[in-house]
């Protein structure tokens, strides 16, 4: 009985927080837009019964998504932005995690604190701060002009570069923490052993440190990649008007067109795009574990 309850809790959790909302979104995706409140049709009505209700649903909105290249372009562009920013987050986060893991033991809690500290400030305020730093009259340009590196201000704000900066900054802790925990567990004598067996520092890093922090790298990359794919706030605040992301398209369908069904269809496809790689990844992990 106790075991049943223990297992039931996460499943109820999953059901309540994921499956039920997903079912609602899916249902809206299969409905038609209408001038009504809420703005779609059919509404579920007990009197008519479930069969009649289901008969009204169709896949029109998904067909629609294939007919306009906007959606594919937005998905691809989101994918590109997510891949690139995950890569840069890894590039920036790994050395920090590495440094933290190599730091003297008594410093580590402090370093960890410093990584988490920004979370204590509102995310929006931090993004607005970046607007102040990156704008044409902002601190960065003023500084660069002051030291004489540039004579004309660089246009960074409202471009994709600003989006990347914002994303890397915001999601850095999500990369650092799992990588750090993987690196912290790494036995220093493994590196020495690799060097002892003929590796230079660099090859030891490639052949031992990187493979052994692989779980942290993968976990961190997923923690960054998945939310970035659907990111809306950072591109809309820091990005230019030509920063095309699926989150923005979804927003537009939902808010500008009031077309909740199409917006829901976009969301469902986005979710499928995310779920498929995750499932594949987990399968792969499982297989590896079984093989061992």
């Amino acid at each position: 009985m106790r075991r049943f309850v223990l297992i039931a809790i996460p499943y109820v959790w999953l059901l309540a927080l994921f499956l039920v909302p997903f079912a609602i979104v899916l249902k809206i995706a299969l409905s038609d837009a209408a001038v009504a409140r809420p703005p779609y049709f059919p509404q579920f009505d007990w009197a008519e019964g479930i069969a009649a209700f289901i008969a009204e649903l169709d896949f029109e909105n998904f067909v629609w998504l294939t007919e306009d290249d906007l959606y594919w372009k937005a998905y691809l562009s989101s994918l590109k932005i997510a891949v690139i920013s995950t890569f840069f987050t890894l590039l920036a986060g790994y050395p920090i995690a590495y440094g933290m893991a190599r730091a003297p033991e008594e410093w580590r809690p402090t370093l960890m604190m410093l990584v988490i500290l920004p979370f204590w400030t509102s995310f929006l305020i931090r993004v607005y701060a970046w607007m102040g730093i990156l704008s044409n009259e902002g601190f960065l340009n003023q500084f660069l002009m002051w030291i004489g590196v540039i004579s004309e201000p660089l246009t960074i704000l409202n471009t994709n570069s600003a989006v990347y900066i914002g994303i890397v900054y915001t999601y850095l802790p999500f990369m650092i923490l799992p990588v750090y925990s993987a690196l912290e567990r790494l036995d220093g004598s493994l590196i020495e052993a690799a060097e002892d067996l003929g590796c230079s520092r660099l090859t030891a890093f490639w052949l031992v440190t990187i493979p052994l922090s692989k779980t942290g790298i993968i976990a961190g990359s997923f923690l960054v990649f998945i939310p970035v794919l659907g990111e809306f706030v950072i591109p809309s605040l820091l990005g230019g008007s030509d920063t095309l992301m699926i989150g923005k398209v979804l927003w537009e369908e939902f808010f500008s067109n009031r077309d909740w069904p199409v917006a829901s269809a976009v969301a469902v496809v986005l979710l499928l795009l995310l779920v498929i790689p995750i499932v594949l990844f987990q399968r792969n992990q499982q297989k590896q574990q079984e093989a061992e």
Binding site: D187, S189, L190, E192, A193, A194, E195, D196, L197, G198, C199, S200, T203, L207, V208, P211, L212, K214, E292
Partner: protein, 359 residues
């Protein structure tokens, strides 16, 4: 083959190795023995190249190795934790060093197979380190460090993680492999029994200095200091003052009202010099009556008996309050033991049984 010349290593204020000069010869099985913190690991890490001496030089085959990084040294190390790469199979672990040498593929294959045979691990080649036992892991670590034909193999507490029985088997295996491969082994250990078993020469270290370097038997029988005598095995130490009494022979007065002890010693002492007699418990005989022809005999009361199965150790309190340990082989069944607690007994030993050591 290896020559340490006035090597000193300091970490800030702390001196780990203090002006040390030693030689290690080819094909030797050399043990660095000492309590933790005595500098033995630092010494080994300097050989491997993970530490550099603050002062002095280390020569390997006549060449100063200070500028040679660890990955370029013909020295391999077997780590205390084994440091097996958990993401690689046993086979890949052993091949790791060979691949770095850009050895042709089939040569690597041959060499790895050879090492697997030597360490009897053929069956486990495809497994990952966490899928084999501690003893097997130890052998993988050994195979991996030997695969590259190092001139010198360093073993850092190689058997520390094994249980006692396995440790003893492995000690002999190590010796066997050392003989087969002809590699020079330097082992670091705090376990004197292990050092005595495997090594051809033992260096006893303390506080960054080498106290004595010798063969195991000489270290045991002829320690050159109270420290070594006390560190290696069990010993009785009796303090007194020396007085020359014939050639190489001394009379050591140790307590008022007791006859001086007669001791033969190659070490020279001046009259009245403070000294210690170090005598191993197994060289002290115990008897109910005063022995007729003993060089030295003292009377005492049995305080305690430690029964170890094959032998028993008697703790005998002398009238002076000092406690002397005497060991006898249990050749008879325990029920027929001659002495018991509170018995008054005589302890006796010959003039050559102990060594006389300076303060």
């Amino acid at each position: 083959m290896i020559h340490f010349q006035n090597v000193t290593k300091r970490y800030g204020e702390f001196t780990a190795i203090d002006n040390l000069t030693i030689d290690i010869y080819e094909r030797e099985f050399y043990a660095l023995l000492g309590p933790s913190g005595c500098g033995k690991t630092t010494l080994m890490r300097m050989l491997a190249g993970f530490e550099t001496p603050t002062e002095g030089k280390i020569f390997l085959a006549g060449q100063d190795i200070a500028p040679v990084p660890p990955n370029k040294r013909a020295v391999n190390m077997m780590f205390q934790s084994y440091a097996l790469f958990p993401h690689l199979s046993i086979w890949e672990n052993i091949a790791f060093g060979l691949k770095r040498e850009k050895m042709p593929k089939h040569d690597i294959n041959d060499r790895v197979e050879e090492m697997l045979r030597l360490t009897r691990l053929e069956k486990f080649a495809r497994r990952k380190p966490h899928q084999i036992s501690g003893g097997q892991r130890q052998r993988v670590a050994l195979a991996r460090s030997l695969a590259k034909h190092p001139k010198l193999l360093l073993l850092d507490e190689p058997l520390g993680a094994l249980d006692k029985k396995l440790r003893q088997d492995t000690q002999f295996e190590l010796m066997d492999i050392q003989e087969k491969t002809g590699t020079t082994f330097v082992i670091v250990t705090h376990d004197q029994e292990e050092a005595m078993t495997v090594a051809s020469r033992v260096a006893v270290m303390d506080h960054g200095k080498i106290i004595q370097v010798s063969t195991p038997d000489r270290i045991y029988e002829n320690p050159n200091s109270v420290y070594v005598a006390d560190f290696i095995g069990d010993v009785n130490l009796i303090e007194g003052t020396a007085k020359l009494n014939g050639s190489d022979s001394y009379a050591m007065s140790w307590h008022e009202g007791h006859a001086p002890l007669s001791i033969k010693s190659p070490n020279a002492f001046s009259d009245g010099q403070k000294c210690h007699l170090a005598i191993r418990p197994e060289k002290v005989a115990i008897s109910a009556d005063q022995p007729a022809e003993a060089d030295n005999a003292v009377q005492g009361r049995i305080l305690d008996i430690a029964y170890l199965g094959n032998i028993s150790t008697y703790h005998v309190e002398l009238p002076t309050g000092a406690v002397i340990k005497a060991q006898t082989a249990n050749t008879r069944r325990i029920a027929r033991r001659a002495f018991t607690w509170e018995d008054t007994v005589w302890l006796s030993w010959t003039a050559t049984a102990g060594v006389l050591l300076a303060d």
